[in-house]
């Protein structure tokens, strides 16, 4: 079953070497095939060996990222209409997309910490090349930037993994490299301090990769420089893979010293949110807006998770993974012909496709900040509930409450800016006619359908936590 997961991306990789145009039409169909093994996995019992671990969390993340991957391959069909890109580069883009997907699946289903890391590194290096496909000097510069900063982040993660392994090895032997064994025995390990240093390295590495303090602008620059499907992949899949690692590692750290974990994550998150909120306030174009808000959502997921709001974190995670790629794909149309103005971006659509497009994009814009029917609304509600519960149980009630209040205040700032941008998109500026392609609309419809399915299945997410 596990091998089947790797087949569709491998097929994309191989088919990208063929030079006919018909292959291009075939690729989205092939990528849809990945739903088959992921759904089959969903209904098979949990499984683990010394290399791979398929538990409920892995299944959930796999299915979320499979849907994102399919949506992105749909949207890739119309990439050539929005940016000038040679046929050869287009195929190469698909090739690296296949590699990226393989790396990501590897890191999500890994039980072995080393395999987790190798998958992550694989995914990172292949995105370097995907950024470079955009033929501008800005993209070259950012590809280099990504190469350096991304590999530093990944190296920090590996450094932490080695320290954790070193901390647990005297007790567990060679088995200390497995997530599951660590999970069962972590509270008994002797070298707690060493473990905590290791966790700090892992956490800083993954935070840098997700664009937290002090690397906030880094991610926004890269996503601006790349094509919009790359940005969709970043926010939908790559960050999911890293987040899954953070989930697992923070569960370990929780058993070692919970108050250190919470203090560390909260301080990091508050610093990040403080900067990000003001960066969002001054934002000038869509790509930056969405990538900065992606950072905000990632840090919300992280603090919900460490505060014990597992359900809220997973719900927020899935909702973000569906909404954000959809918005990134929509930027291709919103900024048609490379114009970055926000005013009037939701006007000038004609036909059924155009009407559907602006309706879905408008709703998603409001959903991402958490207006009520959106899953993000519920997850924030539950998440803040969990945070308050955790604050009440802690020894620093006043400090925790002021932290939570500050988070809420900064979120309100972001909410205000998003609503203002939405109004400007809908009611201001000149009306220009814009072209919408079927591939984009189908990707958007896919993502909104996934979002609705998510809304209807809260109990399924709850069962992930209990399982």
């Amino acid at each position: 079953m596990l091998e089947l997961l790797f087949l569709p991306p491998l097929a994309i990789f191989i088919l990208s070497f063929f030079k006919t145009n018909n292959i291009k039409k075939l690729l989205p169909v092939i990528s849809s095939l990945i739903l088959l093994p992921t759904l089959l996995l969903l209904f098979t019992p949990n499984y683990h060996s010394n290399l791979f671990l398929i538990d409920n969390l892995a299944k959930f993340i796999l299915i979320v990222s499979a849907i994102v991957g399919i949506g992105v391959t749909f949207a890739l069909e119309s990439l050539q209409h929005h940016v000038t890109i040679a046929e050869r580069q287009y195929r190469r883009f698909y090739r690296f997309f296949g590699l990226f997907w393989i790396g990501m699946i590897l890191s999500v289903v890994a039980n072995n910490l080393g395999i987790f890391w190798v998958g992550l590194e694989f995914a990172t290096l292949s995105t370097v090349y995907m950024i470079k496909t955009n033929n501008t000097s800005f993209a070259h510069k950012e590809a280099w930037n990504y190469m350096i900063v991304g590999t530093i982040a990944i190296s920090l993660i590996l450094f932490g993994i080695i320290l954790i392994y070193a901390a647990a090895k005297p007790m567990l032997g060679e088995k200390a490299i497995e997530f599951l064994t660590l999970q069962q025995h972590i509270s008994q390990i002797g070298a707690k301090y060493l473990f905590e240093i290791g966790f700090a390295f892992v956490a800083i590495g993954s935070f840098i990769k997700m664009g937290f303090f002090p690397m906030n602008l880094w991610l926004a620059n890269i996503e601006r420089a790349a094509h919009y499907p790359v940005a969709a992949l970043f926010s939908g899949i790559l960050e999911s893979a890293i987040m899954s690692g953070f989930f697992r590692f923070s569960l370990l750290a929780k058993q070692v010293n919970e108050s250190h974990l919470i203090g560390f994550t909260y301080i990091y998150a508050l610093l990040t949110l403080f900067i990000v909120a003001f960066l969002i306030y001054r934002v000038k174009d869509f790509m930056r807006l969405f990538s900065l808000s992606g950072i905000e959502h990632m840090l919300l997921i992280a603090i919900f998770w460490v505060s014990g709001g597992y359900f809220a974190a997973l719900l927020h995670f899935a909702a973000h993974a569906f909404i954000k790629p959809a918005l990134f794909i929509a930027t291709g149309v919103l900024e048609s012909k490379g114009k970055y103005h926000i005013a009037g971006a939701l006007r000038g659509y004609s036909g059924v496709k155009g009407k559907l497009f602006w309706l879905i994009v408008g709703l998603l814009m409001l959903a991402i900040v958490g207006l009520p029917p959106s899953p993000i609304f519920f997850s924030e509600l539950f998440g803040f509930g969990a945070m308050v519960d955790m604050a009440k149980a802690s020894h620093h009630l006043l400090l925790m409450f002021s932290g939570i209040l500050l988070v809420l205040l900064l979120l309100a700032l972001i909410f205000y800016k998003f609503v203002e941008i939405y109004q400007s998109m809908k009611y201001e500026g000149k009306e220009e006619s814009k072209e919408v392609y079927a591939s984009e609309v189908s990707a958007l419809v896919l993502f909104s359908a996934a979002l609705l399915v998510l809304l209807a299945n809260f109990s399924a997410i709850e069962s992930i936590i209990q399982g």
């Binding site: 080393g114 350096i148 530093i152 070193a166 301090y193």
Partner: protein, 195 residues
């Protein structure tokens, strides 16, 4: 013997931080990796660990000879600027380097019963020093060498603190290193085409 080689490893890294010429930088990187590989082999013969012996030999072949050589070829082919003056002045670096070393020994101090305590702090120090190398240079190649040095400090940590990681992971790291070098080539090619 391991102690000696690790000392040489650290000193090669410190000299790299003060270098202003590109080829010297590659040379010191090669020397740094050579000492790392030798330390691994010395440690492996002490522990009687065959896997570590193999990975030490691969380190010497790949990192001490192949990668500096490949990078030198790239530097020639793409006519990379060879004068690389660090943006942090030497006199400040000379204060910073011991500060980092002292800080890491202080950081690791609560680890009372760990046998490899000093080695862990040396590898964290070399990680931070390689980060300093990346930060202080504007030249892409110096940054790449900094990244490679970081890989070396990872290897040092894996070797000393854990008495050898599983072979699979070390092979994975080597594979990724090679892939990184290939990607560097691809990135450079585009820049050459554009110019």
């Amino acid at each position: 013997m391991t102690n000696f080689f690790i000392g040489m490893f650290l000193s090669a890294l410190i000299v790299t931080l003060l270098t202003t010429r590109l080829y010297r930088l590659l040379f010191w990187y090669g020397l740094n990796s050579l000492f790392l590989g030798l330390a691994a082999i010395a440690e492996a013969s002490y522990l009687g660990d065959r896997e570590m012996m193999i990975s030490g030999s691969i380190t010497i072949l790949l990192k001490a000879f192949a990668i500096p050589y490949i990078l030198k070829i790239y530097a020639k082919r793409f006519a990379i600027e060879r004068n690389i003056t660090p943006s942090i002045r030497i006199q400040y670096s000379i204060i910073l380097i011991p500060a980092i070393l002292v800080f890491t020994f202080y950081l690791i101090d609560p680890l009372l019963h760990q046998s490899a305590k000093n080695f862990i702090s040396i590898s964290i120090a070399s990680l931070l020093l390689s980060l300093l190398l990346i930060v202080e240079h504007r030249n892409i190649f110096a940054k790449v060498v900094g990244f490679l040095m970081m890989e070396n400090s990872l290897f040092l940590l894996a070797m000393t603190a854990t008495e050898g990681m599983p072979m699979l992971i070390e092979l994975g790291i080597f594979f990724d290193l090679l892939m990184a070098v290939i990607i560097i080539n691809l990135l450079l090619q585009r820049e050459a085409n554009n110019a």
